[in-house]
Symmetry: C2
Subunit: 107 residues, 2 copies
């Protein structure tokens, strides 16, 4: 096959998998890292920071946007990107739940 049987799993399981998939590529981790290295949102210049061609980065940015991990707003000629803290919260909460459930377990 190749297609994942997403209809067999819960909405939340699919949601979390989608979030993690968006973070499952080193280029996208690097984009998030870069967005965190500066004190403000980044307008432009992401392309110059990574060793990938502009269409490739545009594609990775699109995936991060689709997963709501970053937000992009048009700022004149450039587009201003920043991390979406709500999505970070969502992921942190997921691991908080895991941590909580692990407390009652043998390992």
């Amino acid at each position: 096959m190749g297609a994942s049987k997403s209809e067999s799993f819960s909405v939340e399981q699919n949601e979390m998998a989608t979030l993690f998939k968006a973070l499952s590529h080193p280029a996208r981790i690097a984009i998030v890292d870069y967005l965190l290295t500066v004190d403000s949102c980044i307008c432009g210049d992401i392309v110059n920071e990574l060793p990938l061609a502009q269409p490739t980065i545009s594609q990775h940015l699109k995936e991060l946007k689709n997963a709501n991990i970053i937000k992009g707003t048009i700022e004149g000629t450039a587009i201003c990107y920043c991390i979406n803290p709500d999505t970070i919260d969502k992921i942190e909460n997921h691991f908080g739940m895991i941590r909580h459930k692990l407390k009652n377990k043998c390992c």
Copy 2:
């Protein structure tokens, strides 16, 4: 292409991407969820819990093991699986770092 240019990114960026990739499929999220629903480690019966064939689940378990998200120890005929709390820590720390850096930002 299709192959990710992992050599262009840092070891830590690749490590985090590998962890997230292991969690990027709803079946693997469901396996982690299931391992958390019981008070002890699970020996056997994972196959009966998910709507996938045994070889498929075995493959997903292997990926979770390779990423150190779960540990498996042989327990007689069956294999006993449980979450690896060290890896959960690692991911939580990553988001702790993100959260910390976000504090100084505009969004």
